[in-house]
């Protein structure tokens, strides 16, 4: 008898635990249904469109902020160009002449008649088994 009561108590306890879970599931299902219905309304579509536009606007502003403002042209020198420093057209001379002449001087200086790279190989010219 006591055992039977215990069994009844246990089964009633199990039933008591199942009821709130089902209610929760129903609640969620109802909310989802409500949301789905709301998503079909024009009001939702308008709100979503505004949201997308705001995101696009934020992206555009971020991109514009990365582009530096146009640099101002440098101010003309306050002191006049010295007479001894002639101006040249860059198309005539893209590299400073002084640097070119220094290169030529260096190249000429390094030019040797007895270039070590071209020295005659030191070979044994008298290879023989019989001669002493």
């Amino acid at each position: 008898m006591e055992t039977q009561n215990n069994d009844n108590n246990f089964s009633s306890h199990k039933i008591g635990m199942g009821e709130p879970v089902a209610e929760e599931v129903d609640k969620i299902r109802n909310t989802w249904e409500k949301f789905k219905n709301f998503a079909k309304t024009p009001k939702f579509k308008i709100l979503a469109g505004i949201g997308v536009l705001i995101i696009i606007l934020i992206i555009v502003i971020a991109v514009i902020a990365q582009i530096p403002a146009n640099p101002k042209p440098p101010a003309p020198p306050l002191t006049p160009t010295p007479i001894a420093s002639p101006t040249e057209s860059p198309s005539i001379n893209p590299q400073p002449i002084s640097s070119e002449s220094a290169t030529l001087a260096k190249e000429l200086h390094g030019l040797l008649f007895n270039n070590p790279d071209l020295s005659f190989p030191l070979l044994d010219w008298k290879i023989s088994l019989t001669s002493k």
Partner: protein, 260 residues
């Protein structure tokens, strides 16, 4: 302008390729020389054993080592001539016919050496190998003459090449002066004087280098005589003088281009 840029790029590329070929030829020569050094060591060791024991196995070993060292020695000379060929290819200041004639001379010697190597490796007996060795030895004078000639032509031609570039630089200095705002007449006169000096020195440099180049070209593939040595010494002295003249020319141009 586009054409100019294309020409500039192509020129730089061709110079780069030429330098790379010379560097490769240098590496090949080093490799062949190391090879020769090893086989020469083996030859010396087997030869010493043969001289000491006089046995048939010692003779066979010495003979095999002899063939290998003869072959590797010819490979060194061939690599040396290949290096000279690449040097000629990368050097300016000489006509195509001069360059081609010299390269042809070197190629002919390399062909001889390739054949020599084949014969050395196929020698049937010690006597045959030794005859080949004597033949090789008899070529030494001619090879010294040929390399001395190419070295001289390369040296004088390099001077001519730098002189040509200095002439172009003078043109640039003149253009720059024409477009400059220099109002100091004495400064302008001084610069003009330096340009004139530079031009004179370049003219002298080119005359002397061309003379020296022609003189080097008269050296023949022959035994080394007193006359050969005299030609070499005179031509070399002329080239060295031309180098000094060109150094003065570049200094004068640098002074004329002061501040540019």
């Amino acid at each position: 302008m586009k054409k100019f840029i294309i020409v500039l790029i192509l020129t730089s590329l061709s110079v780069g390729v030429a330098s790379a070929d010379f560097a490769k030829a240098k590496d090949d020569l080093r490799f062949e020389f190391e090879n020769y050094t090893k086989t020469h060591q083996e030859y010396a060791e087997t030869r010493a054993k043969y001289a000491q024991f006089k046995t048939l196995p010692a003779e066979t070993d010495a003979f095999e080592a002899l063939k290998r060292v003869l072959a590797d020695r010819s490979a060194v000379m061939s690599a040396y001539f290949a290096e000279f060929t690449e040097k000629l290819n990368e050097t300016g200041g000489m006509s195509d016919s001069v360059r081609n004639d010299l390269i042809s001379e070197l190629t002919s010697e390399r062909n001889y050496l390739a054949e020599f190597k084949r014969k050395a490796l196929n020698a049937k007996n010690v006597e045959g190998a030794e005859n080949l060795s004597s033949e090789f030895q008899n070529k030494m004078d001619g090879w010294q003459n040929i390399t001395s000639k190419v070295k001289g032509v390369v040296f004088s031609s390099s001077i001519i090449s730098i002189a040509n570039r200095t002439s172009q630089l003078i043109g640039k200095v003149e253009n720059a002066l024409a477009g400059s705002k220099i109002s100091d007449i004495s400064d302008l006169n001084l610069r003009d004087e330096k340009i004139a000096q530079g031009k004179d020195k370049i003219r002298e440099t080119k005359d002397l280098s061309s003379k020296s180049q022609s003189s080097f070209l008269t050296i023949k593939f022959d035994t080394r005589t007193f006359d050969t040595k005299r030609i070499e010494d005179k031509s070399r002295a002329d080239s060295e003088k031309a180098k000094i003249l060109l150094t003065d020319a570049i200094t004068a141009v640098s002074e004329a281009a002061r501040g540019f």
